[in-house]
């Protein structure tokens, strides 16, 4: 009998945190499949470049955040995904405008990447992450910060 199983969940849209649904039930992909994940991220990257050329930075960010964090403990995969998210983050000029078209289901994962950005120590990255962090906290509340800190399973 499975020990920690995932119950059926009611879909409540923005309130259901994807990482909460995944925790404990999804098996982590091992190194062999890391290549498949990296390929997927490269594919994402091309899509993001195309969206940026069309001047759609928020769409690019959503694309970057989708499928994150990669269900793996492989650091290369996490780094590859971070590079792609970072690229999209740095192109955002209008932070308020971004939030008017970013669905709340992205809030928790975005918060995790903001903290990764803040930890780089790189001045332009930190400035941008801090600007977005302020607005995200206003929108999503302290609970969002709590969740990004408390989740040690699905890290970025």
């Amino acid at each position: 009998m499975k020990n920690g199983f995932l119950p059926r969940t009611r879909s409540v849209g923005s309130d259901v945190s994807e990482s909460a649904m995944m925790a404990g039930a999804e098996k982590f992909v091992d190194a062999d499949n890391a290549e498949a994940i990296i390929t997927r991220i490269e594919h994402k990257s091309r899509k993001i470049e195309s969206l940026l050329k069309q001047n759609k930075p928020v769409e690019a960010l959503k694309t970057a955040l989708e499928g994150s964090p990669p269900m793996t403990r492989d650091e290369r995969c996490k780094s590859a995904n971070w590079i792609v998210v970072h690229r999209a983050l740095m192109t955002i000029k209008d932070v308020e405008g971004m939030f008017s078209s970013l669905d709340p289901e992205y809030y928790d994962i975005l918060m995790k990447y903001l903290y990764r950005g803040l930890s780089t120590g790189d001045r332009p990255t930190c400035d941008q992450c801090l600007r977005i962090h302020e607005k995200l906290t206003e929108r999503a509340g302290l609970g969002c910060i709590l969740r990004s800190l408390a989740d040690t399973v699905n890290t970025v």
């Binding site: 119950p7 259901v16 909460a20 404990g24 302020e134 999503a140 609970g143 969740r147 408390a150």
Partner: protein
């Protein structure tokens, strides 16, 4: 105002419990004692001090059926106190725990969970058990733990317990058998509570989430609700469709289920300084982050308050315990909360008209 009475007893309270007629309250003032107070002519008088534990008393429950008090402590012991005349006489209950006991609850029929199940629960839990709750049928027991999981056990004993089973299963579960393990939270879980009918289970995670589970059994239906605010520590069902959560925001939060059974946050119960959905949400946030973002906050200088205090709130520190009180009528719902500010606050939902539909 939903808070109808605020009593400042001591500096800090870890847990509290009411006598069956609610004329007396027992609580631990953050030390190794249990204090019993009685309301005599509008004033709270300290009647007894129960001193037997060596360390912090972390859980107290007062049985509604037998007028006995059970207390558990970090010293890994549990005492059951019986009132014999003017004195409260303790009986030591050997729990055989390796670690501190954190919580205790009398079952509806009068069995304290620590007496019965400590040995069995110990096997299944590798981390601290932070909360226990008896199902109204006196057979199922739910626990939450610092490993983030919520577990439901059966305490059914053949020949002793009569089972009114709707599902009519012919194979009764064994005593201590784990019926269900919920792995919804990746951080510490607290505060588990069953709905009055026993159909729904609710518990909270330290990651600012609250979990609602229906159909507890082989195929449960779970709903994870992300909380905007600081984490909760305890929850209470005041009706089938309404849950009160309390925690680090020092203000009870109301959650309710709509007609389709979807749970969501309705509002805070107590007074709150500013509207939480406005752009300058909460002076405490702006205070703390003002320095982080390095911007001047002239507009809020009049509202500057200490980060941990919200003017007009009943509690000014973390609420860690919530208990249901005896109701005055069919629709009125009253409960009490105690917290690290040493206060016990009585709340009444009677004049909260927007919440009446959920009661």
């Amino acid at each position: 105002m939903a808070a109808v009475a605020v009593h400042q007893f001591v500096q800090c309270i870890t847990c509290h419990a009411w006598s069956p007629d609610q004329s007396m309250i027992a609580f631990c003032p953050n030390n190794n004692e249990v204090h019993i107070y009685k309301l005599l002519q509008d004033k709270w008088e300290k009647l007894h001090v129960l001193q037997k534990h060596d360390q912090l008393v972390s859980g107290i429950d007062w049985s509604g059926t037998s007028n006995r008090i059970v207390s558990v402590s970090h010293d890994r012991n549990s005492f059951v106190w019986n009132q014999e005349g003017p004195e409260w006489v303790p009986t030591l209950v050997i729990l055989r725990l390796n670690r501190a006991a954190l919580c205790v609850q009398w079952s509806p029929k009068g069995f304290a969970v620590c007496r019965w199940v400590s040995k069995v629960i110990r096997k299944k839990h590798n981390s601290s058990v932070t909360g226990v709750s008896w199902h109204p049928n006196n057979i199922l027991l739910a626990t939450t733990s610092t490993d983030g999981k919520c577990r439901v056990f059966s305490t059914f004993i053949k020949g002793v317990d009569t089972r009114e089973s709707k599902t009519g299963s012919s194979s009764d579960p064994k005593f201590g058998e784990q019926i269900l393990q919920l792995d919804l939270s990746s951080s510490w879980a607290f505060g588990v509570n069953w709905s009055p009918s026993g159909n729904t289970l609710a518990y909270v995670g330290h990651n600012s989430m609250i979990y609602f589970v229906d159909d507890v059994g082989p195929s449960p239906l779970a709903q994870n609700v992300a909380v905007r605010y600081l984490p909760l520590r305890d929850v209470l069902f005041v009706s089938e469709k309404m849950v009160i959560g309390v925690g680090f925001d020092c203000n009870p939060m109301v959650f309710a289920a709509d007609k389709s059974g979807l749970w969501s946050f309705i509002r805070f119960l107590g007074e709150r300084k500013e509207s939480s959905s406005g752009p300058k949400s909460g002076s405490q946030i702006s205070e703390a982050f003002g320095k982080l973002y390095g911007q001047s906050r002239q507009g809020l200088s009049n509202d500057t308050v200490e980060p941990s205090k919200i003017q007009g709130a009943a509690h000014d520190n973390c609420i860690n315990c919530i208990e249901l009180l005896k109701q005055k009528g069919p629709k009125t719902k009253r409960f009490s909360t105690s917290g690290m500010d040493g206060k016990v606050v009585i709340w009444d939902l009677d004049n909260q008209h927007d919440l009446r539909e959920y009661l």
